[in-house]
């Protein structure tokens, strides 16, 4: 049986811990970029499968000029190589357009078994990219994956649903969209970090991907709704019970 490869789509996102908020808007100037947190779970899952079944773990990504640097983290965490488009113009693209570019990157790869996506990214959380790529490539997709096993020519994927789990058997190649709970990504060692820069990185030109940017959607504002909190000071628990009764939250 031929060895299969695992593809992980990883996205450059701002380091949220360093984000400053001014006038209710995030200030992105000088905020370092890193790989998405749930993307790291997806990568960990792929690396675990590679350790069990051999094959290669390949990162695919579409990001700005700094992307080769950002991807070193993924390469340190166990990916074997990366294929990407790094161009500052892609910062303005929407999820649909990024999905098209990612699909093009994946199409050129051989012997792909599973293609991993996170359920959402830290900045947009549109949660669309994985499903869109699956549609473009015509592969089956499984979302909310909390456990992934390979069995011969198929994968058995456990989906974490609201009150239950569901096991799905899917033919390969397939797209898997993972949730954060599926594992705890390991930390890379100092030596893995220092070797990451030496792993192969294949850069694809935005022009070569024969993609024409089109403005499909326009984002005017992206804010959390204002909430009007009551901020009522209470002196004891019986006061709280009274208030909750008045609000009709507790029955009399």
């Amino acid at each position: 049986m031929k060895t299969l490869n695992y593809v992980v789509a990883m996205k450059q996102v701002p380091d949220l811990q360093q984000l400053r908020i001014r006038d209710k808007k995030p200030v992105l100037t000088d905020i370092p970029l890193e790989l998405g947190k749930i993307d790291k779970n997806a990568l960990e899952c792929a690396v675990n499968l590679k350790e069990q079944h051999d094959g290669e773990v390949i990162l695919v990504s579409v990001g700005n000029d700094d992307l080769p640097e950002t991807l070193k983290d993924g390469l340190a965490c166990g990916a074997d190589r990366a294929k990407f488009i790094a161009d500052n113009r892609v910062d303005n693209l929407q999820s649909a357009q990024k999905a098209e570019l990612l699909a093009k990157l994946i199409e050129g790869l051989d012997d792909v078994s599973l293609i991993f996506f996170a359920e959402g990214s830290a900045d947009n959380y549109s949660g669309q990219v994985g499903s869109r790529v699956a549609e473009i490539l015509g592969y089956p997709q499984v979302g909310y994956a909390s456990e992934v096993k390979i069995q011969g020519e198929t994968a058995i994927i456990t989906r974490a649903l609201e009150n239950s789990y569901e096991d799905i058997e899917v033919a390969l190649p397939a797209v898997v969209i993972v949730v954060q709970d599926l594992n705890k990504p390991r930390l890379p060692s100092v030596i893995q970090i220092l070797k990451a820069g030496k792993k192969p990185q294949e850069r694809i030109d935005l022009a070569d991907s024969s993609y024409e940017a089109a403005e499909l959607t326009v984002c005017y504002e992206n804010l959390a709704p204002d909430t009007d909190r009551k901020m009522q000071e209470l002196s004891c628990s019986s006061d709280l019970i009274e208030v909750l009764k008045d609000l009709g939250v507790l029955e009399r």
């Binding site: 070193k72 983290d73 930390l187 890379p188 060692s189 100092v190 030596i191 970090i193 220092l194 990451a196």
Partner: protein, 385 residues
């Protein structure tokens, strides 16, 4: 001048931070109470390569920069100065063996130290002195192909842990006060090696500290580190290379105190309003802490950058080391003191980590050369040459 960390340096710092927060932080109270670091912490650090960040690649180290090392140890010390101390002294050990040792010694000791299988000690201080090689009383007597060591070393970090110890002793053939102090490497726990009870120190809990008793410890002559009579030189090189760890620890303690003060000021209210919003003097105190931290940080990082091959003159390096050590250790004390002003009585009770940081901070200026000695040395380099 570019003060940005490289991607690799950022990632190493991040790994140290994540390890610190996820593995050390939940054990910190236990470390403080028992004055001991659980094995799982040291094993985890070893697995991640945190003991050999800047050691040579061909000996199993990361081959990364001193800047990387200092930024990583700072992250460890934000959570535990004691764990930082173990890391710092081990780093001092393999860095000195790399610099002063011959090839055989490098190959024998460094790979195990960078892998964390063994952890190094450096023993200079004695009951009579902590900074003057001429006053050393531990003796090394030549006996055929061996030296026989006798005496007491005081306040020796990591001396209970398996591994090599660099020890500066007086060669007995030399006359009293002749200054013929020489460095050797001995294996800890060899025959004739014993320890006092652990010192019960005010801070840096978990950093193991004992007196070491040497009774007729026989070591082969090839265990001499560098040349006979090089004790003063070894001390100078310790000065050059080894202060970077303790500087990083002090920065970590300083930052932990600053962060605790900010968090408290956001949480504590006065008549319904957070004190950070309500009181200008609170914001001013926090700004002062930030200024002191930044000053110490850049002096320290500049020193680490200098060590990364950017400055070659060992005298200039020694001066930078001395200045960074004084700045960083005093910054930690000043910042903890100011943080106390923000927390008030809460800073004095063990429920708040600031009370522990006070103990950690006050150790900094006393170890690895007190401020007076370091300033005198830096002054001599600048003005008496």
């Amino acid at each position: 001048m570019d003060y940005n960390l490289t991607t690799e340096e950022e990632l190493i710092k991040k790994v140290a931070k994540e390890f610190s927060e996820s593995v050390i932080a939940p054990l910190q109270e236990e470390i403080h109470a028992n004055n001991e670091v659980p094995g799982e912490v040291l094993e985890g650090m070893a697995e991640l390569g945190l003991f050999g960040i800047n050691a040579p690649e061909d000996l199993g180290g990361g081959g990364a920069s001193f800047v990387s090392f200092v930024s990583a140890i700072e992250e460890i010390a934000v959570v535990s100065a004691g764990v930082g101390m173990i890391m710092s002294v081990n780093n001092m050990g393999h860095t000195l063996i790399n610099f002063l040792g011959n090839d055989e010694q490098r190959k024998k000791y460094i790979p195990k130290l960078v892998a964390g299988e063994e952890l190094a000690s450096f023993a200079f201080t004695e009951p009579s002195t902590g900074s003057d090689p001429k006053q050393l009383q531990v003796t090394a007597v030549e006996d055929g192909d061996f030296f026989v060591l006798n005496g007491t070393k005081r306040f020796i970090t990591n001396s209970n842990l398996k591994g090599p110890m660099i020890i500066v002793a007086k060669e007995e053939s030399s006359s009293p006060m002749s200054g013929k102090a020489t460095a050797f490497v001995i294996d800890k726990h060899c025959e004739g090696y014993s320890l006092s009870e652990p010192w019960d120190k005010v801070g840096v809990h978990g950093g193991p500290l004992f007196d070491v008793y040497l009774k007729d410890v026989r070591i082969p002559k090839e265990n001499m580190l560098g040349d006979s009579g090089n004790g003063m030189y070894v001390l100078k090189m310790t000065m050059v290379f080894a202060k970077v760890g303790v500087c990083g620890i002090c920065l970590g303690v300083a930052r932990a105190a600053y962060e605790e003060a900010v968090a408290y000021a956001k949480e504590k209210t006065h008549r319904g309003e957070a004190i950070i919003k309500k009181f200008e003097h609170v914001r001013m105190a926090l700004t002062e802490m930030e200024m002191i931290y930044n000053r110490a940080k850049w002096v320290t990082y500049h020193y680490a950058w200098a060590l990364d091959g950017n400055i070659g003159d060992p005298f200039v390096l020694a001066k930078l080391a001395a200045q960074a050590k004084v700045e960083a250790s005093e910054a930690a004390v000043d910042i903890v003191r100011k943080a106390m002003g923000v927390l008030g009585s809460y800073g004095c009770v063990s429920d708040y980590k600031l009370s522990r940081l006070w103990g950690d901070a006050i150790v900094g200026p006393q170890v690895e050369g007190c401020a007076a000695t370091l300033k005198v040395m830096a002054g001599n380099i600048s003005y008496l040459a």
